[in-house]
Subunit: 411 residues, 2 copies
């Protein structure tokens, strides 16, 4: 490595994040990250879509945003409009839809629209880490909303909003993942959706609805319409193609009424989202969404069953699963006296990575015995072996679980 | 439009940018923006590349960053390494190369690495607006470096650095576009490159080298090696595929030594750059870069000639062109008493948009009679008609030029 010929340390800005380590390949039991099943990428379909759309509109690549404006490729926005109408009850013109460079960019834009340092934001007590990190980075103070097996507990939220109001605090927004909650996998019932909107209107709080997993629902389970479908006047809606297709394609979308959208758009700031990603996905999904998703969901549900069986076999009664209604992750509670943070290092040494509960929760107080395991990417064999390996690490560190598979340990 | 059911105005954060207006199609004479020639998009080549790369590696799309880390698709980084070695003299391992979502993201990352509010940044007196805007947004104070037909005037810069030092000011970095300067189109000679690096080392100032246009150089013109090739220890290098291929593909790249790169990477923050864009361009350019670029440059040079002829015909001696050595834009000086800002509105009414000098300069003092016209996207016919229409507007507003084409106006 060449020695630097100037002293960069004197030039760096203040408060830089920690350096990124050099990339190392994934360990064998990689149970984190919103990855998908590599075998379910529709390669032939994407090749055919690329051929069709490039032949038809490829010359537009010469122009920023294809010459069609900052909200994204109209074909993809039209697909989002159609899909959201059919599956989520949303009736939005494409002017109210903007394609984002992943849903993370949507979270950035929406939180920058609303958050000043010191503002209060309500999030589900167990919550997507990436969203919480972004809110906190802007100086937001997070308050957790109680969850049960069906999502936000409305009575508790009503009391919480009243209590905040009594203290003079008006939260800026409620961040919720009502349909396949991350990490619990619940679906908020219709009556709670109406009640949530009623509270938002009563307290003048916006609802930031993240539906990144709403396309991944097990067969036979119905989800109520999106919150946005029930009242677009107080909801900003976020979606993604990372889960329904592929996360290496950086494609998400925001749906908001134009009065809001016109304030969000200047916060995009990237001169457009990658055009090939947009064009190919629009072309492919316009024809194949309704074939691809049921098949993908069958595969994912099968992997979930494998993981649940492995957890039951390896952890027995020591593990309590929040059985998800869709998605790609399983939220597990171990006995209260297990602090999963103590398992991170020994698990890593054994080639296992998982999400520790406190990283996926507002507070460590009620999450230190929880963990999140993602099941979409690993094979069923890896799931079985990895869960067994994790149980072994857990036993070695904590004495729990006493029994694993056919092995009864010293009790 | 549905009435909002909450009062969003009470929720917006402070200091939001102005709302984005609804998109309207381009006017007939659109001479702004780094667009390319739509006829030069290699559609068949991109289709073949998509087929090949998706068949070979498509299943990796299921994983964030293709499972290969945050620096981007290794095939594209390898192409950047090879191209930069062959054409720019740069010898960099792919660990020192990161693909960005457009060069704009690279500018964001580099400026956030170095700029605290109040810091001084040196930029060329005529300079890319997008970079200046980003530096200013972080609170940087911009100081212009004098330019001549060959780029930065080294003696003037030496005096400027000494004067700043005498005032206790250490600039954080020198932002320069040494190869096809934007907007003047100059190429910095080798001796000035060495002198610039010497000054950077002497004053402990980093050099931020933007080479977004360095692939677009007219046949027969040689450019000296990149500044990064001469001293990677004080230079951060930026490049782009927007100009060499297509700006709707959001692909740029940063080259920096690992000690710097590891501090830059956490500032990327987008969970990766669109994978299809990266994979298809890597596959296409690995085979066809050395065919595509000479052809593209011939076409662009021809369009430049058309524009220069049109400017000479329509503006006569009233316009002085900085004839560029490559690129996609022409920087023009009108007589001192023409303030081009007064032409913006009447030109827009006539269907013409152009970059007013003060938007492409540190100060309006020495740029108010300048304008930048981009020539890659419009056809030669549009270039001729648009320049004639602009001359007409200019005459109507200012009495200049007195003669346009075969029309002699009242003098």
């Amino acid at each position: 490595m060449a020695a630097s010929s100037i002293d960069y340390a004197r030039l760096y800005s203040e408060g830089l994040p920690d350096p990124t380590p050099r990339f190392t390949p994934f360990p064998p039991y990689y149970f984190i990250g919103g990855n998908n099943d590599p075998e379910q990428i529709p390669i032939e379909g994407l090749i055919a879509a690329a051929d069709t759309v490039l032949r038809r509109e490829g010359s537009k690549l010469a122009i920023y945003n294809l010459g069609l404006g900052p909200q994204g490729y109209p074909g993809l926005r039209q697909f989002v409009a159609d899909k959201s109408k059919r599956h989520r009850g949303i009736d939005a013109p494409i002017d109210d839809i903007t394609i984002t460079s992943g849903s993370g960019q949507g979270i950035d834009m929406i939180s920058r629209l609303l958050v000043n340092p010191g503002d209060t934001v309500l999030v589900e007590e167990f919550c997507y880490q990436g969203a919480m990190n972004r809110f906190r980075k802007l100086g937001a103070k997070l308050e957790g909303m109680a969850l049960d097996a069906d999502g936000i507990v409305i009575d508790a939220l009503a009391a919480q909003l009243a209590s905040l109001k009594a203290k003079g605090v008006t939260p800026k927004f409620i961040y919720t993942i009502p349909t396949i909650q991350n990490p619990t996998g619940s679906i908020l019932p219709l009556d709670r959706r109406h009640a949530l909107i009623k509270l938002a209107r009563e307290y003048n709080v916006a609802i930031f609805e993240d539906e990144c997993y709403a396309d991944l629902i097990w067969q036979g389970i119905d989800a109520p319409p999106a919150l946005y479908a029930l009242d677009p006047g107080c909801v900003i809606h976020l979606g993604s193609f990372s889960k329904s297709l592929a996360p290496a394609l950086r494609l998400g979308y925001v749906i908001a009424e134009w009065e809001i959208m016109k304030r969000l758009l200047p916060l995009k700031g990237d001169s457009g989202t990658g055009a090939l990603d947009q064009m190919v996905v629009a072309e492919y999904f316009s024809k194949h969404f309704d074939d691809h998703l049921p098949h993908l969901n069958t595969v994912l549900h099968d992997k979930l069953q494998t993981m649940i069986e492995a957890v039951e076999r390896e952890f027995g009664s020591a593990a309590e699963c929040w059985v998800p209604k869709g998605g790609i992750f399983l939220w597990i509670k171990l006995p209260q006296n297990v602090d999963v943070r103590t398992l991170i290092k020994p698990a890593a040494d054994a080639g296992i990575v998982f999400n520790a509960g406190p990283d996926w929760a507002v507070s460590a107080d009620n999450s230190s015995s929880h963990l999140r395991l993602c099941f979409a990417m690993p094979s069923k064999d890896v799931i079985r072996k990895g869960v067994a390996a994790l149980a072994k690490v857990c036993y070695e560190q904590t004495g729990i679980p006493e029994q694993s598979g056919n092995v009864r340990r010293a009790g």
